[in-house]
């Protein structure tokens, strides 16, 4: 589907779309059936019994983007200024020809109203081909501080 360089380019592109609040274009990266997951209070919780920071299927993702574009999601008005480094990109050995499992890390600086937050974590993407395009089927973000107080995580990570 993609070689290592192609995978990196895909993740960098996703990072740029998130950094620049290009919500619709970011949404286009996702598969029709998708799962976006940011666990809370731990890294491998049972979502049937435990709350997450984000646990969304495709309609939930669309709601999130619609809210961010509404002009009335005040926690992103004004939007945070974002810059992230994506690194340590690693193709998982369990990848198959039609589904790539990709591990990466990110370090994000988020500035808003005189406050500069640092957000860091490990990400696992599952990338699939859909209509000849690479799409995100699942994305799991393990934040280093997912069991600590987080002030505002309304931008995209």
């Amino acid at each position: 589907m993609l070689d290592h360089h192609g995978v990196e380019q895909f993740l960098y592109r996703e990072a740029r779309l998130m950094d620049t609040h290009a919500y619709d274009t970011w949404l286009e990266l996702w598969a029709r059936t998708a799962h976006y997951w940011i666990p809370c209070n731990g890294d491998d919780i049972d979502v049937t019994r435990h709350v997450s920071l984000v646990n969304e299927d495709r309609p939930g993702l669309e709601d999130r983007v619609q809210r961010l574009k509404s002009g009335a999601h005040y926690a992103q008005d004004p939007p945070s200024r974002l810059s992230r480094v994506v690194s340590n990109v690693e193709l998982d050995q369990h990848s198959s020809p039609d589904a790539l499992v990709v591990h990466s890390t990110f370090n994000l600086s988020a500035h808003r109203r005189r406050r500069l937050d640092v957000v860091a974590g490990r990400v696992t993407h599952r990338l699939v081909l859909e209509d000849g395009q690479v799409r995100i089927a699942t994305k799991k973000v393990v934040l280093v501080d997912n069991d600590d107080t987080i002030m505002n995580l309304t931008y995209l990570v």
């Binding site: 209070n41 979502v47 049937t48 709350v51 709601d63 619609q66 509404s70 005040y74 109203r113």
Partner: protein, 437 residues
């Protein structure tokens, strides 16, 4: 710190307005910690958080660290998190399960019920050394209702049931009776977030009916598009939904007049699968009348002074950190003995609105920071809380009620706050006085 001139609290909270220093003055904050959080009933946690012997949570009462633990004897206690030897915190973790708490400094070891069981090299202590007298200190007052555990660092408080009052107890009954077995499970984790602003902003906001249709419209409009229902109708100025002042600064919404509950009952009955199964379980457990009463109550919002909010599917604990810094811990609740899909549905719905990445509560926090920034403008230092003033109705039991968008909620909370801060409220006063004094 050096205290300034005595603060005249009666001049700061009036019937129709409140002075901004109530939210911004560091001296007032210090006095709040002392009078409200170190001398009154404070919510500590729910027994459903510590279901097994040895389960514990570290908590704070105001600024004082405590351990909320279920001992091996099955009893839930609130113990001061301080070694009786040289004062080190004996439990450094936020949560866990342990039979013992061992001090890292000299190894004094305490049972999870508090008793001192281990003192290394005791031979240098004399015969008068009384190990039994040196257990972890229990909080001076501790009591619970339906699993909701409260503590007071002062013995000089009214009994808990009197502090809460019958209407708050009834709200706790409803929160529990949403489960067929009457039990809440509080084991689903916690959303921890915070804001740069005063703690009372979150307490008042939790029962502010006026902000829903404006501040949360980006969230509810999407809900409306998806469901085809008018999701904000309950919080318009024409809504028959009510807000009640229950006394002692406690406030509850009542959405049942807006038909919320009736519609919910119909949806449960008419949806095969877990909704119908849940309805049947609830009716067979409580009888149809009580089941309908509980379901009709709608998505309850109950603010329990000073630091607990019960919302249909969550417990919210408010932690004052500084005059301009607050942490909010939201514990989604699961219902015991219901179809698992129902609890999953509760969690998914909760996540979409609450928490630091949620689509609703984050806008509340944003506004608390805007309020805090705005209050630096001092030409007119007053904050208006007069919406619906004079339109309240008082019931025979002393409950004062108003239309849901009335600022009765603010007047009830701040009226009680004024009485506690000025030293008038060591006994239960009638709710009437909270709005008309």
């Amino acid at each position: 710190m050096t205290a300034g001139a005595p603060i005249r609290y009666a001049d700061l909270v009036l019937d129709d307005r409140v002075h901004d220093s109530v939210y911004t003055d560091p001296q007032i904050f210090e006095e709040e910690i002392d009078r409200i959080f170190h001398h009154g009933w404070v919510f500590v946690g729910h027994e459903g958080e510590v279901p097994e012997p040895g389960d514990y949570r570290s908590r704070e009462l105001g600024r004082q660290p405590v351990i909320f633990a279920r001992g091996d004897d099955g009893v839930v206690r609130v113990l001061m998190n301080r070694c009786t030897h040289r004062g080190a915190m004996v439990c450094p973790y936020e949560r866990g399960n342990s039979r013992f708490f061992t001090c890292a400094y000299h190894g004094w070891t305490f049972r999870n019920s508090g008793g001192l069981v281990g003192v290394p090299h005791p031979e240098q202590y004399g015969d008068s050394f009384d190990r039994d007298a040196l257990g972890l200190r229990p909080v001076p007052r501790c009591d619970s209702y339906r699993g909701f555990v409260f503590a007071s660092l002062s013995v000089d408080v009214v009994p808990l049931v009197e502090h809460l009052g019958p209407r708050v107890l009834a709200e706790m009954d409803i929160a529990g009776d949403l489960s067929p077995s009457g039990r809440l499970e509080v084991t689903a984790g916690v959303h921890k977030f915070g804001y740069g602003g005063n703690w009372k902003l979150q307490l008042e906001n939790s029962v502010d009916g006026y902000h829903i249709t404006h501040l949360h419209r980006s969230y509810f409009r999407i809900q409306e598009e998806r469901s085809g229902r008018d999701a904000m109708r309950f919080a318009t100025a024409a809504s028959p939904a009510l807000v009640h002042s229950l006394g002692n600064g406690h406030v509850a919404w009542d959405l049942s007049p807006a038909g919320f509950g009736g519609a919910a009952i119909e949806r449960l009955r008419n949806t095969p699968g877990w909704p119908r199964d849940y309805y049947d379980l609830l009716v067979s457990a409580h009888g149809q009348a009580r089941a309908h009463e509980v379901l009709s109550h709608g998505a309850g919002h109950v603010a329990i002074f000073p630091n607990l909010v019960i919302i249909a599917s969550q417990l919210r604990m408010i932690r004052p950190v500084a005059v301009d810094r607050t942490e909010v811990f939201i514990y989604p609740t699961l219902l015991s003995d219901v179809p698992p899909e129902m609890n999953e549905e509760r969690l998914r719905r909760h996540e979409s609105f609450y928490g630091p990445a949620g689509g609703g509560a984050t806008d509340d926090l944003e506004v608390f920071e805007r309020v805090t920034a705005g209050l630096r403008a001092k030409v007119d230092p007053w904050i208006r809380i007069d919406r619906g003033l004079g339109r309240e109705v008082e019931a025979d039991d002393g409950t004062v009620s108003a239309q849901i968008t009335s600022e009765l909620s603010n007047r009830a909370i701040l009226g009680h706050w004024r009485r506690v801060m000025s030293g008038e409220a060591s006994v239960r006063l009638s709710p009437r006085r909270s709005t008309e004094e």
